[in-house]
């Protein structure tokens, strides 16, 4: 049995803070956990003495269920909290809410919050491991990790490979975390979408920009398709969803007209008929449901490695 280096940080706030060794360690550990979750009994006792609070100040289906399953399959004790049904409505501050939960002896906090930097703020002020499950338009690290893990199941070494991210890059925390992660793995990253939804600074992250979806797809080995985040858009960035679907929607006809087979990914939730058509989402080229499966394994790896770090 060999000892390994531990994670360089006691929190997972963003991919930006992780180094190449951290990524490697997470992916290797996730592979072990993928075997565990495909067993008849999908549970190991590793985190039996750990209590984890899932604090969701913003709506979520997949991420929340995925974290909860990951925690339960590691035998951790879990408490769930959602802003809608809590004292947040009565005017309590974030720090007070979290400190109250921690005084009930909670070891780790998984948090989703609409404000960018909310997790970093917590990490500075409280004594618990924090996992960012999405902070506003900033980062969603575990999504990027599971996306990269899923990509590496198709292409084991992403160095030099062409990965395209299509959609609402401006409002997407998935896009930013994906860019950080893929660049650290040595991939070439291109973003594609309407100019209004591509941030000006984006090329400073070492990615290229393409406004023509056909050209972008012809370049790509894998395309990660994102949703238009209407809930974060306070002004009109695109004339209509219908027009967006016309110019940037990915359908079977478009994919069939390319001279190669590319893999299509989507972090969910899908808006069928807008950014992706049903026949693509349900096709063999799409690995959307594999991403969801890998999400549990990757989150188990992250929680496991953080628990080891805490001791």
């Amino acid at each position: 049995m060999t000892e390994i280096k531990e994670l360089s940080s006691k929190h997972i706030l963003g991919i930006k803070d992780l180094n190449a060794n951290d990524l490697k360690l997470i992916f290797e550990t996730a592979k072990n956990f993928k075997e565990v979750i495909n067993r008849p009994i999908k549970k190991v006792p590793s985190l039996r003495d750990v209590t984890i609070a899932n604090l969701f100040f913003e709506n979520s289906t997949r991420t929340r269920i995925s974290f909860e399953l990951a925690e339960k399959r590691l035998s951790a004790d879990v408490v769930n909290f959602s802003a809608g049904s809590s004292s947040v409505k009565k005017g309590e501050t974030l720090l007070d809410t979290v400190n109250n939960i921690l005084s009930m002896k909670v070891d780790m906090v998984v948090m989703r919050h609409p404000a960018p930097g909310a997790c970093a703020f917590l990490a500075k002020n409280i004594d618990a491991n924090i996992v960012n499950a999405g902070d506003g338009t900033h980062e969603h690290p575990t999504q990027a990790l599971l996306d990269a893990y899923s990509m590496m199941e198709i292409i084991p070494d992403l160095a030099g490979k062409n990965i395209l991210i299509v959609g609402d890059i401006k409002h997407s925390r998935v896009a930013l975390s994906n860019i950080f992660c893929l660049k650290k793995l040595g991939a070439n990253v291109k973003v594609c979408g309407p100019p209004t939804l591509i941030p000006k600074f984006i090329t400073s992250l070492g990615v290229s920009v393409e406004y023509d979806i056909r050209k972008a797809l012809e370049w790509a080995d894998i395309a990660n398709v994102l949703r238009i985040q209407l809930e974060r858009q306070d002004i009109k960035f695109i004339p209509s969803l219908r027009e967006y679907a016309q110019y940037f929607g990915i359908n079977k006809q478009l994919l069939d007209s390319l001279n190669k087979d590319i893999t299509i990914m989507h972090p969910g939730p899908i808006n069928r008929g807008v950014e992706i058509s049903s026949d693509v989402a349900d096709s063999d080229q799409s690995i959307i449901l594999q991403q969801v499966e890998n999400g549990v394994a990757v989150r188990m790896a992250v929680l496991y490695l953080l628990a080891a770090k805490r001791a």
Partner: protein, 181 residues
């Protein structure tokens, strides 16, 4: 690490493995309804060597064999200084109602085997589990766990360290005893 003393090597090492294989055949006959589980990582090397010998003796290759990694089941996970690297678990069958031969290289405190027994439960309820180990450090146990088949028994102090080296990895089969780790 200080220089170790060789306890078992060459011909005697080979004979010990053969004796263990023969003992298994005495008890398990044709190995029907039986599976062999090697504990990662070094128990796997021993298990594979024994399976080679068993297959020659038995004349068939139908032995059911799996590898078990116990990293996620360890009781010292959060008290160790550094986390341990997990190996793969490869058991693609259920052990429900089977006879299991659990194999590890060195039986020391018994904690690895305790974890392995807990891990095995996740693959079904075996009819019976027996433990085979190449080295039994009989005076160093922390738990009431004993082996059913033992290659060699070593009486050593707690701070001593026993290492089994394999041809496949270290060019030579031998067991070494070091006064301290």
């Amino acid at each position: 690490m200080s220089r170790g003393r060789t306890i078992l090597l060459d011909k005697r090492f080979e004979l010990t493995l053969q004796r263990l294989a023969h003992q298994l055949i005495e008890n398990y006959g044709d190995f029907s309804n039986t599976c062999i589980i090697g504990v990662q990582e070094r128990g796997v090397l021993l298990a594979e060597r024994l399976i080679e010998l068993l297959e020659i003796e038995l004349g068939h290759r139908n032995l059911e064999y799996g590898k078990l990694d116990i990293t996620f089941y360890r009781d010292d996970f959060r008290t160790r200084k550094n986390p341990l690297k997990a190996s793969s678990t490869e058991i693609d069958f259920l052990i429900e109602a089977k006879r299991v031969i659990l194999i590890d290289d060195v039986l020391y405190t018994g904690r690895t085997i305790q974890s392995a027994l807990a891990a095995l439960q996740d693959f079904g309820r075996p009819e019976q589990v027996e433990l085979l180990c190449l080295v039994d450090r009989r005076f160093n146990r922390h738990l009431p766990i004993q082996a059913d088949y033992v290659g060699i028994t070593i009486d050593a102090l707690d701070e001593a360290y026993v290492k089994v080296e394999w041809k496949e990895q270290n060019s030579k089969d031998r067991i070494l005893l070091f006064p301290a780790k």
